[in-house]
Symmetry: C2
Subunit: 460 residues, 2 copies
Amino acid sequence: MDFIHPRAAAAVADLGARLGTKLVTNATVREQHSHDESWHRGPLPDAVVLAESKEDVQTAVSICAEHRVPMIPFGAGSGLEGQVIVMQGGVSIDTSRMTKIIAVRPADLDCTVEAGVTRQQLNVYLRDQGLFFPIDPGAEATLAGMAATRASGTNAVRYGTMREATLALEVVLPDGRMIKTGTRSRKSAAGYDLTRLFIGAEGTLGIITELTLRLYGIPEHMAVAVCNFANVQEAVATVVETLQCGVPMSRIELADTAQIEDINLYSKTSLVESPTLFLEFAGSPAAVAEQVETVKALAEAHGGSDFAWAKTEEDRRALWQARHNAAYASVARRPGCKLLATDACVPISRLVECITETQKDLANSIIRAPIVGHVGDGNFHLNVILDPNDPTEVEEGKRISKNLANRAIAMEGTCTGEHGIGIGKMSYLKHELGDAIDVMKGIKAALDPHNLMNPGKVFV
Amino acid sequence: MDFIHPRAAAAVADLGARLGTKLVTNATVREQHSHDESWHRGPLPDAVVLAESKEDVQTAVSICAEHRVPMIPFGAGSGLEGQVIVMQGGVSIDTSRMTKIIAVRPADLDCTVEAGVTRQQLNVYLRDQGLFFPIDPGAEATLAGMAATRASGTNAVRYGTMREATLALEVVLPDGRMIKTGTRSRKSAAGYDLTRLFIGAEGTLGIITELTLRLYGIPEHMAVAVCNFANVQEAVATVVETLQCGVPMSRIELADTAQIEDINLYSKTSLVESPTLFLEFAGSPAAVAEQVETVKALAEAHGGSDFAWAKTEEDRRALWQARHNAAYASVARRPGCKLLATDACVPISRLVECITETQKDLANSIIRAPIVGHVGDGNFHLNVILDPNDPTEVEEGKRISKNLANRAIAMEGTCTGEHGIGIGKMSYLKHELGDAIDVMKGIKAALDPHNLMNPGKVFV
């Protein structure tokens, strides 16, 4: 076969000799590893390693390092900014078969898992023990992938992101050495915060093989409702006031009318097709009752409807599943089209203005882009659905995305709250953080002097 | 005057020319900048820059960099591991005069402050707006110093540490460039987490000039009590069960009998002299009542006394002030003696065992070391009080400290929960994180290739 990278042939031969059938070069598997769930596309990797253990990862990395062949970490392939795309040839190192839950320690509310464990796999495993792991991007991502992109989701308003949820990582460095970045202690002032450095490094500094994560007790009582508004602005104002009142919301999510239409079609729900808040309250029954009373009053003052409650545990799950599938729902409405996901996050006081300006931009556009978001964090997405083969649509999608990133940055926010930079937001990162990029590049050069680990990502 | 560092004379001349009276070389000021609040001691710095603005810091750093003279950031001098000590000569750069509160944004629950603002200065400023900043080491530290050491305190069990409380930093790099590490957005996936990298770097990667911090609304209702136990083990067991029940404690702190004796003498309190928990509950009145009921039942099961409530706001403040002054109280009991503070932090399930083993070690020792700690985080301190001129005491203090660090590490914990490594815990860091130290050294070399920024700290 033909290899893209000039030194790939020799590396693949060595990988095959050491890893046997865990080294795969067939076109189907390579195609699966050439993209994520977004509109970004790249060439096929030269080969794929289907690692089954940290030792396999270490072997693969050592061989690639020796041959100076690029290596690209791969989890579930559910990213949204092309982080898993092979830019210049090289080997995709897939950790999704590393699915052992190594230890769950209820007394310490923590666990240790292999890189390929997914968020739902972990939560199914934990449920009988009354525990859960809160970080929940829409996709069924691997936990290592979630750490690599600093993912969050609907629970971040209460529980934080992968940054707060991770106690320690085990990482294979670009030269094949393996390190532990921390311990199981809840806090530490011991040296540089390498755990947080690898979280959000998007696989450019090493490959995560193991994670030690914080867990939480499933709340005694939960109540889930939806509430409809005349417009997105009234809905968001309700969220802002709820947070300013200090109500410890468990989840508080927004979808606009277009998004609700897509959800109803895809998930066979019959939600009222208007701007909607999805609300989850948790705690003791008395605490929940207090929270509900406060938020109801705020919603009413903004013309919100009566709360429509999910009556059973099954209803509750179905509602959140529908919310998690929102992006898939929008993609499904236009077969053959792909998702360009924006990911602006702004200080909450600017959120109404940011969404309003964005709606004005969309009103004049050929693009349909439902709005959905973690508004409690100031974070929302336009699910820009476009035909990747239509240059006009692609250009318009990019224009909308760029305008929104610039708008968020001008409001002291960020171009990406939870998806990462990948290959899609590199120019925005420079605009957002300026010379700080040089510090990032210095760190990258120190840890990966030959630029072998996921090259071509994050930095311009 | 004589300079320790061979290139200090030229640098000091340039600093004086540019900074005028903000460059100080008198012996009193240099002595003040030669130590922190611990037993660690070093030589005097060659000079001190009393910076009044970020521009002063940038000027000082640029000149030191040009002359390749070491520079040592200095805040309140309240550290406990010698982080501000000048090892090989050089210039102490003091940011404690940079005390502007630049912006408070109640709607976003955040603020931006200069490096030298202290935690109490900020909280006094915020009080009228119903807001507070939760991170509270015992000392009246500067916020930049607290970020540099990844400090926490009594509120960490509920609000986290400086790691969670900081949104963004402005930092002067070792070559004099200034960067912003983040934005005001609540979460971000934009590039490497430089904010978290500088938090806990102990001034070895740059000098923090400005911080953007999260704020919180002062809870609607607070209740503070002390509860006495027959021994430390029963007290800690109560804490462990409280957390395992998911009670969202605001503060839950331990002091042993020796520590209470010292507090009573120093703070003129009349606390019962037995192992004691200091408890703070916060929330709505109903939520607080629920929490109190749960914890009371747990404490009773462990032989705890009735809760003695702080009846007024003034009582509440006095009680926490006494707790914050615990280490000073122990130092004051032996004039001329100094503090060697241990800082072990372990998974909560190991805390009783860790303290029990430590007590056994102390029982056979000439050293008196009261125990006080943030047991809700698994973190506790021995306030080892020793005569720095008595080699036997110093050796014994080091032995106790080393044994405890090793014990914590063996229990999957850390040698330092919140004080940092400085010059006091370098060998423990190596033991705790192994080859990860090499990654830290690589980052240090990349950002500070001439090893000018606070050299001789953190790494062996």
